[in-house]
């Protein structure tokens, strides 16, 4: 079941720039105010830290994000693209509903995501939990 909310072309352009061009560290997506389309809200600078990224996830509103997650495993540096659906418990129920039912449209448009995180509080998107998921497998 889906909401029929669309994905704006800039979402994909930004994603390609991140994936292939490594121009950004992360991208924050949001719903357009009239709930018809998903748009890019912020492109995180390459030099930004994980905490900067977390600061862009509001306490009471929904977001989606792609983060270029870098970590070390077996002595080597790895990169994985992490997709985060952010829907904190105290977001408005309408927002949560729209977010959950529209998520699939965005997720399917983004090719090359290795890890998916569904976050409702900051502990679920903390660096350790993401690292746990990313470092599992290869």
């Amino acid at each position: 079941m889906a909401s029929g909310v669309g994905v704006s072309p800039e979402c994909l352009e930004a994603f390609q720039d991140l994936k292939l061009g490594h121009k950004f560290k992360y991208i924050i997506y949001n719903l357009k105010s009239d709930n018809t389309e998903i748009i890019v809200q912020k492109k995180g600078d390459v030099s930004s830290s994980y905490d900067d990224f977390l600061a862009d996830l509001p306490e009471d509103d929904i977001r989606w994000a792609v983060y270029d997650f870098e970590f070390e495993k077996d002595g080597g540096k790895r990169n994985k693209l992490v997709f985060v659906s952010w829907a904190p418990d105290n977001a408005k129920i309408k927002k949560k509903m729209v977010a959950a039912s529209s998520r699939d449209a965005l997720r399917r448009a983004l090719v090359g995501i290795a890890v998916e995180i569904q976050g409702t509080d900051y502990s679920e998107v903390a660096h350790e939990s993401v690292y746990d998921k990313a470092s599992r497998g290869n």
């Binding site: 949560k96 509903m97 998520r103």
Partner: protein, 438 residues
Amino acid sequence: MVTYGGDEVSALVLDIGTSTTRAGYAGDDTPKAIIPTCYGYKSATPSDGDVQMEDTPATEGESATEKSKPKVSMYIGNNGPSIWREDMEIAEPVSGSIIEDFAPIPSIISHAFRDIMRCDITEHPVLVTEAAWNTPANRERMAEIMFEEFQVPAFYIANTGVLNAFAAGKGSALVIDIGASTASVTPVVDGFVLRKGLAHSALPKLVHAHAQHLLTTQTATRPGIQLLPHQLIANKQAVDPGTPPRFTLREERVAGTTESYRKYYEAKEVDEWIQSVAGVLEQGWNDQLANQRGARHYEFPTGYNYYFGSERYSVGELFYTHSPSLVNSNPNLPKSIPTLISTSLAACDPDLRQVLMGNVVLTGGGSLFPGFLERLSTELSRHFTHVKIHAPGNPTERRYGGWLGGSILASLGTFHQLWISREEWLEHGKAIVGQRCK
């Protein structure tokens, strides 16, 4: 295709449950009409012995059941089964969250939309909710009723499990729904129900039956309690707790009271008792703890009143544990909540289990049972490391979670492209329901 920019779809949302039917406008936060799904009826010729009609087996031959039920008067809505009428029988069209008897459904829908909400159904798209284990034949029948009998311009049928997960902001979740007749555990992954992991049982009915047994059976300290509805009582006098009640029956009504009416009301009295005093211990069963909790006072319509002690907790305990003697005496016992959850998880991919346990959504009116949420979290954290239960604090959100999710979804302008329109129905027929509403 026409795209709607705004949210002015003015769709209607309909959620038919075992106990109540909820109907209202999409975009609202509570249903406008909440009426009992049960209805009263008097048969055309009550003397010809054809009074066993509520026992019509739930067969798939819908047209056959329709013909076998010649009802002259039906009493629907808030003034339906709740009012005493001579020779009125009461029937339940929905059992286990599935519509078993479609004959009265159009009347119930019409009552909710036309009589209560005073709106013209032919002008509004209608979103209907269904249980995850609903049959394809059933949902097609629902579409047929909507398009053919009510002439709706558009229709959609959505799964309550998915709606509840979405309303919690989750694409993937383990939805635990405690209804009036069914407890279900539905794994939802990326917006779709994982059918193999679906588990449900008639657990609330077992709890109810146990409570009824408990109340009507004599104990060392009190006699068995008579479950009479206030409709059959002329007057009563105040008596001390635990002493026999002093009341007079409305004798003129007793003879005209049918068996199904009596049963419906006994169940109602038990329900009220459960909702008022029953609970479940947060940390698991413990005789001492149950006794330490204060006794609660409850008065029945007969005037009989009593302080109920630890027995009120034994009722709720049935949600979580079944004693070996009970299991042995009844091989078809409904599965308890922990069993339902483990059955469901066992059928899911191991990688998914962690995601599901981190996103448990508790919903349904039955989950408002005192101590239920705390007990669930105790039970789950015993077996899993990272458990997070999402349970709306607002009782309306919990009771009408499915309806509310449908209300938001149907109010979206962008959702318009997903409705099954009247034209599509006329062109493709029943097949479109299964294709569109996945």
